[in-house]
Symmetry: C2
Subunit: 107 residues, 2 copies
DNA sequence: TATATTTGCAACCATATGGTTTCATTTAAC
DNA sequence: GTTAAATGAAACCATATGGTTGCAAATATA
């Protein structure tokens, strides 16, 4: 079964879980209170997030605190980073100049 | 039907399409040659990418060139950006110092 | 005009997904 | 020791997903 970070963050509930957990570690029970779904559904999301290492477990007694593991998010960053300058429209003057030179040369 | 950018980039074929198209606009036929799937399958992917505005169509005769629209990728960037400093482990000395002062003060 | 090319759409299919309910296990509290 | 709380796993279900094949429409080419 394919289980990667991109698929993990595709679900809005999982993105919300990530955002909550990034602030501070939480138990599944505490998390479930933030959503309309059942605790078990949240647990399934946590399983998926764990499988792609977006979260880590820390057991204390019968409670399990889920921590955010930001490193795994880097894969997403690496994918979109090459496109950043395409949506950020601020090009410095050197870039514009180089682009101009390139076009005129071609012509 | 939910159709957002996160779901769009969840599929590896669609991510590959995006990467190809970002280099230069392509027709569905040209795109399909890069994959094992049928042209129609690629067409379905393009439909999804169009719906969340990750690509734009430009018709010339009977051919349709698909362009990459980087702006729509910003939504993903905005989501992961807050976590960036959590995975980038390079903190400058001032940050470390401030952190230290904070802890000692608390104690 | 007749034919070939490019494309999107519809119907269908196997599997994945996200949810539920039920149950077993472990640990805390009484 | 008995009961309650926290959790994960399994079974089940409706729907979404990604693929296929077949077909129709529009445009280029002969």
């Amino acid at each position: 079964m394919r289980r990667d970070v991109f698929q993990a963050i595709a679900d809005p509930t999982r993105r919300a879980i990530i955002t909550l957990i990034a602030l501070h570690a939480m138990t599944p029970n505490a998390l479930a209170e933030h959503f309309d779904t059942s605790r078990q559904a949240v647990s399934k999301h946590l399983r998926i997030l764990t499988e792609c290492q977006l979260v880590k477990q820390e057991q204390t007694g019968r409670e399990i605190y889920y921590h955010f593991n930001a490193k795994s998010m880097k894969e997403v960053a690496d994918f979109i980073e090459p496109f950043r300058q395409m949506w950020e429209e601020k090009f410095d003057k050197l870039d514009v100049l180089l682009k101009k030179m390139k076009t005129t040369k071609k012509k």
